[in-house]
């Protein structure tokens, strides 16, 4: 595969590129879905091809093809150069790339048990049993269970001499219980919503999840939710479970710190950012409890790799330190604008898309204490868990999130359950109100499979680690 990437780079040079890189990518997936002990889907996919990125005269061009014959590589490389030359129709400051040491390397996710080698019979049996246990709960309408596996092999070569082979493996599993009664529909998911807990790991990850062990509890909570009261509308103390803290961080910290947004390169589609180029070291983003890092080196993160799609090595970058904004999420093109080297965050969705700045693993550093201790230290408030809905404005200022379930905290204890909980806020005010972050014993590295960005639209898998956290004076129950 690396040979094909080298051929593509050579073809681009011959066509007139000043710089070129090429990625041969092969992506395999396997997905299984069960609903009420009936098979809803069992499918596999394979997609492979070559994406060629060039700089010609200071402009980018990109072309991709699924056909990798020498003639197709020549034709695609010529097209990429032609696209770059066409871009010169409008003036632009020529692109310059931050320096990176070109390396020859191999890297792969640490996998104990190849998820594609585990028998389909075992996977189906696991999902059927989880679904059966959910269905045992009276009042449950649907018990669903799913498994998803992903393997991506990438061979990267550049005119600078880089030659990198990488293999990434992800595994995910989850259950979802739905209860419907009297025009009300409620869901509970485990370990997380949107098809479960996604990790960079093999099938050993699935064996740790406890999908069957938790099935009846999850189903019972869904049934209980139907009869619960709506989350009241008030301004109160809000404790978020780690699986909601990560979505809050994703939307209101990760995206606004992407340097391409700050530079208005994403303005027309996903929007820009309230953060300015001169805000490093000055902007008070949150309270001193809030330290957030981008760590592409951490084991198990679905944003973990050896090198990004520009050949920049994985690294750990502090984004927010004790509440103060420190660094952007950047690329070779954007980092020099603020006098930095690339943070190594360029990632492409498959072979057919141009790499963009994407979050890798964005993590809230742990504080102290368990979730029980945070709740025990709260006189009155609301605890929310498991994301259902997210929305934020085009500069990442005003947000609103919904969760599956909530409970009233009264005198340090969880009391009444509430359905349809949501909350609303302003990014820096919200993070500024954070007065507790749970300790490492509560810290979980989650994965989100569906981060959208770019035109044509691309989807990225993003890792997020967090412990539960507490926020003061938050508006909940927005209606």
């Amino acid at each position: 595969m690396l040979d094909l990437a080298h051929q593509a780079v050579e073809a681009a040079s011959k066509a007139g590129a000043d710089y070129a890189d090429a990625r041969f990518v092969s992506e395999e997936t396997e997905s299984l879905s069960v609903k009420n002990q009936e098979m809803e889907g069992i499918d596999r996919s394979l997609s492979q091809g070559v994406g060629i990125r060039v700089l010609a005269g200071g402009y980018w061009g990109f072309a991709a093809t699924a056909r990798a014959t020498p003639e197709d590589l020549d034709r695609t490389a010529e097209l990429a150069v032609g696209i770059a030359r066409a871009a010169a129709r409008l003036p632009m400051e020529p692109v310059t790339l931050a320096a990176v040491e070109p390396v020859k390397a191999e890297w792969g996710t640490a996998v104990q048990e190849d998820p594609f080698a585990v028998s389909l019979e075992e996977k189906v049996a696991l999902l059927m049993e989880a679904s059966r246990r959910m269905q045992q709960v009276k009042g449950l309408s649907f018990g669903e269970a799913s498994l998803d596996f992903y393997r991506r092999r990438t061979s990267f070569a550049s005119t600078e001499g880089a030659a990198i082979d990488q293999t990434v493996v992800h595994s995910s599993g989850g259950i979802e219980a739905t209860a419907i009664s009297d025009g009300e529909m409620q869901k509970r998911s485990f370990p997380n919503s949107f098809r479960g807990h996604l990790r960079a790991a093999g099938y050993e990850h699935i064996r740790t999840l406890g999908l069957t062990e938790e099935a009846e509890r999850v189903a019972a909570e869904a049934v209980d939710l139907v009869a619960a009261k709506d989350c009241p509308s008030e301004v109160t103390t809000l404790v978020l479970d780690s699986n909601q803290v990560i979505l809050q961080m994703h939307e209101s910290v990760g995206h606004p710190l992407e340097l391409d947004r700050v530079l208005k390169m994403e303005e027309a589609y996903a929007g820009t950012s309230f953060v300015g180029l001169g805000d490093r070291g000055k902007l008070r983003y949150g309270s001193d409890k809030v330290t957030i890092v981008m760590d592409t080196t951490i084991a198990g993160g679905v944003g973990t790799f050896g090198f990004d799609d520009e050949g920049v090595p994985a690294q750990r970058v502090t984004l927010i330190e004790n509440g103060v904004f420190r660094n952007f999420i950047s690329s070779r093109e954007t980092a020099p604008v603020v006098g930095l080297t690339s943070a190594g965050a360029m990632r492409a969705d498959g072979w057919q898309n141009l790499p963009l700045i994407r979050m890798t693993n964005i993590n809230l550093e742990p504080g102290e204490g368990t979730l029980a201790e945070i709740i025990g230290d709260t006189q009155d408030g609301i605890f929310m868990t498991t994301n259902t809905s997210w929305s934020i404005d085009d500069k990442r200022v005003n947000f609103q999130f919904g969760c599956e379930a909530a409970w009233r905290i009264k005198d340090g204890k969880l009391t009444e359950m509430y359905k349809n909980p949501n909350y609303n806020g302003i990014t820096t005010e919200f993070w500024g109100s954070c007065d507790a972050v749970g300790g490492s014993e509560e810290w979980v590295l989650w994965g989100t499979p569906n981060c959208g960005k770019g035109q044509p639209g691309q989807v990225a898998r993003v890792g997020h680690g967090a412990a539960p956290a507490r926020f003061r004076n938050v508006r909940v129950g927005v209606r």
Partner: protein, 450 residues
């Protein structure tokens, strides 16, 4: 530039999979798509791409069990590998008692003019020239961002029941956001099946005028307002209503706001929502992704809910017939209407503004999401052009607001409907044609700072 592969070659590759020993039925869904996108920001072309891909997605039925596999290797060998993989999956799957069998042989309606060769063959120079024309509408102190995309696709379906259908089509889309000055921005877009039916300069001019007229937006308090929603904003309501409610399977399972509502008034009597892939005013294929021919289907007629859309499996579950709205398999969520229309009325945008006492004129919504699916409540932000209307006049631009609003409640409060409609593309294969609406009350729950 690639060209059409054509039905004969597709049929030859499909036949390599259709005669699989050990299978009771085989269905081959074929895609070939290609195109370029010229992306611009800060009035320069900064990311331009081109790609071509093929795909075969094969569904195998064996002993009442179903397996699906796919690959982008479009060759007879590739098809044989994929069908063998699908059979392997089917053999371990649990039997599917709801599987209704593959679509029978039937004639597929024509959709003349859906494929425009010049659009499919658009080169990067032509797109760059269009972008330059758009940027040329922007005055000093402002800048443009957006994309000009031209794509083509051919889709075919073959199965062991003898069904074979094939159709190509093309699409051109220009979209932009123009911003600058003292704050404020404007958005506009255009989508059509032919490149000569989109005018980048007109799109740029429309967005620039919004940006110019949206300068220095003022603070505004949240609350209930009358609203005049332009087509891009209306599309958000229609698309989310479809997502939450129009699937026949969701209706059958009680997960839809329309469960038990057939024949009941759910919106104002002026509201018609229907799906019509065959209309010349829409983009779309004349068959669905399991080979059922398309036809017009009325979802809401004079405010009365008429019924949801079904694929073959969900139709069997509900004791109905497929309406021709299957998505590619496996599709556990069931059918979806990809070519929606909201029927036009007789008002102009100016009429709607003139009829508004105290309200908001909204260009588009941003990053909307579901709050309560059964109540059809969603939340989202206004973006790229929001103005206060006072006593029938546009008074001044305002900062962006967050809405939290039931869609069916809004459609029940529609007072005026635009006589012109616009085609708004949510994603490939899907585009809605909708007019502007005047709604008597819309719930804005908070505000932003810009």
């Amino acid at each position: 530039m690639p060209g059409l592969i054509g039905p004969d070659e597709v049929r030859a590759v499909a036949e390599a999979a259709l005669d699989l020993p050990g299978a009771d039925g085989v269905e081959v869904l074929f895609f070939h798509e290609w195109g370029g996108l010229t992306r611009f920001a800060r009035s320069s072309i900064h990311q331009s791409t081109w790609r071509e891909d093929t795909g075969i997605r094969i569904r195998v039925i064996a002993g009442g069990r179903v397996g699906v596999a796919s690959s982008n290797d479009f060759s007879k060998e590739g098809a044989r590998r994929v069908v063998a993989s699908a059979l392997e999956l089917a053999e371990v799957a649990a039997p599917d008692p709801q599987f209704p069998g593959l679509a029978p042989r039937s004639d597929t309606p024509d959709k003349p003019g859906a494929f425009h060769e010049a659009t499919a063959e658009t080169n990067p120079e032509r797109r760059a020239e269009g972008v330059a024309g758009l940027v040329g509408q922007v005055e000093d102190g402002f800048h443009a961002a957006g994309a000009f995309e031209t794509t083509a696709v051919e889709v075919a379906l073959a199965n062991t029941e003898g069904q074979f259908c094939y159709a190509p089509y093309s699409q051109a889309t220009v979209s932009t956001v123009i911003s600058g000055g003292q704050g404020g921005s404007g958005a506009a877009d255009a989508t059509a099946g032919r490149i000569d039916e989109v005018d980048p300069e007109e799109v740029g001019r429309r967005a620039f005028l919004k940006a110019r007229d949206g300068q220095s937006p003022r603070d505004i308090k949240p609350g209930h307002y009358e609203v005049v929603l332009e087509p891009m904003a209306v599309d958000t309501l229609v698309a989310f209503l479809a997502y939450m409610g129009f699937s026949g399977r969701a209706i059958h399972e009680g997960r839809s706001p329309f469960t038990g509502k057939e024949g009941q008034q759910v919106a104002a009597p002026s509201i018609d929502i229907y799906d019509d892939a065959l209309s010349a005013l829409s983009l779309g294929l004349p068959f669905d992704f399991e080979g059922t021919p398309k036809r017009r289907f009325d979802l809401i007629e004079k405010g009365v809910f008429r019924g949801g859309v079904y694929d073959r499996r969900s139709a069997k579950m509900a004791g109905r017939e497929s309406t021709g709205h299957a998505l590619p398999p496996p599709n556990p969520d069931g059918a979806f209407p990809l070519n929606l229309f909201l029927g036009t009325g007789d008002a102009t945008l100016e009429d709607m503004v003139a009829a508004t006492t105290h309200g908001l004129l909204v260009t588009k919504f941003h990053y909307s999401n579901v709050v309560h699916p059964i109540e059809t409540t969603i939340t989202g932000m206004t973006r790229d052009g929001t103005w206060l209307i006072e006593n029938g006049q546009v008074a001044h631009p305002v900062k962006n607001l967050r809405f939290t609003q039931s869609i069916l409640e809004a459609l029940s409060n529609v007072e005026m409907i635009g006589r012109e409609s616009a085609l708004v593309s949510e994603f490939f294969f899907s585009a809605s044609r909708v007019p502007a609406l005047k709604v008597s009350s819309f719930n804005f729950t908070s505000v932003s700072d810009h």
